[in-house]
Symmetry: C2
DNA sequence: GTCTATATACGGATAGAC
DNA sequence: GTCTATCCGTATATAGAC
């Protein structure tokens, strides 16, 4: 147990446990008893600090979503890097975040899938994304004929799909390929180098 | 209501309803009452025909998994098509299947994520995949220097990620891009044409 | 096979002692 | 703030009439 964990408050202990359990099992399959056990606290304390399972979930979801989006938005908004510099930055940051938080993408996308309203009005992703340096740079590069013609959403889906999908399909991939955890990580680390090259290949004019 | 649905058995009605509800909400969030209501049958009949929620879920999961994998395995096993012919076939078939079954990938990958044992021993995906014409053709092309050096899993993850991810992230993408359903479909139809080109670009030797 | 009524278990939440 | 004991709604499953 690290020093950080020794003098942690009960409230924080519950939040950390809730994050782990919610991200692993999702809202519906999680029992407040699971969280209490994981946090090693009495069940009643959960309601004492957070009132209800729903409220606790809301807090965890908001924090998770913030982390999930920040890996992207912190890069795409930067006016001081070029489009081609941004690509490996996005890939590196996302992969680092996903490696540290293995269940996050499945958690977020699965919960939003079942309840799209979770996303609405919490963050104004639409604004941040569509008015970002990244989108502007991309569209300028298309207009200037420097890269292939392509809708920016297609480009975004490509990056996200190439980076995130392996984490969501990890159990199936491990089964198909008979991969151990370390081999899976090795494939991911290889992707970290390759994805920017692939993205460039895709963007090349034909 | 189509003719097909008119003379359907009660058992089949329950299965179709269960498929719809399970795929949309997942196992834990689904109540047997939801299924009974969707199927327009009495709740007790669900247990009469299928014994338990778990058993019914097992049947739906197995069928879904079969459909999900068949779109892939029916193409990759074909000895009479070349590697480059297989790529658009896989893309077309997967997208057609996903369009008809919008919630399937999230359902399957999410449930397997929570419970990887669901996959084990049901189908021998490992054998079918690894001994397929597709894998052999890919590895031969690499060995012959016709395409860039790449682990076949990386290649598989790329295809799957490019095709499947947009369906899993659909609610988020619609939000970010302020897309209506028809615009989302249009993006997908465009991808159907583009993904094989992108795959070829990725495979090109540098 | 299909219904109503109900048994039973489980999970979220709280009362009240300390 | 933390605990024990418990309430109460809800969900699965079944008994038994038709």
């Amino acid at each position: 147990m690290s020093a950080k964990e020794l003098d942690i408050t009960t409230e924080e202990k519950i939040k950390q446990a809730a994050k782990a359990v919610f991200q692993k099992k999702g809202f519906a399959a999680t029992r407040t008893r699971d969280i209490a056990e994981e946090a090693d606290i009495n069940l009643a304390l959960l309601n004492y600090y957070f009132r209800s399972k729903e409220k606790l979930f809301g807090i965890i979801m908001e924090e998770s979503l913030r982390d999930f989006l920040q890996s992207l938005t912190s890069v795409i908004g930067d006016e001081n890097t070029s489009l081609s510099e941004k690509i490996p930055l996005i890939v590196d940051r996302y992969i680092a975040m996903l490696l540290a938080n293995r269940n996050m993408p499945m958690f977020i996308l699965s919960e939003i899938h079942q309840n799209p309203e979770l996303l609405v009005a919490k963050f104004n992703i639409k604004e941040i994304m569509m008015k970002s340096a990244f989108v502007r740079q991309f569209q300028q590069a298309v207009a200037a004929g420097e890269i292939a013609e392509m809708h920016v959403f297609q480009f975004l889906m490509n990056i996200m799909g190439l980076v995130i999908f392996p984490f969501m399909a990890a159990p199936m991939l491990k089964q198909i390929g008979d991969l151990q955890e370390e081999q899976f990580i090795a494939l991911i680390m290889e992707r970290k180098k390759l994805i920017p090259l692939w993205i460039n290949a895709i963007l090349k004019k034909t």
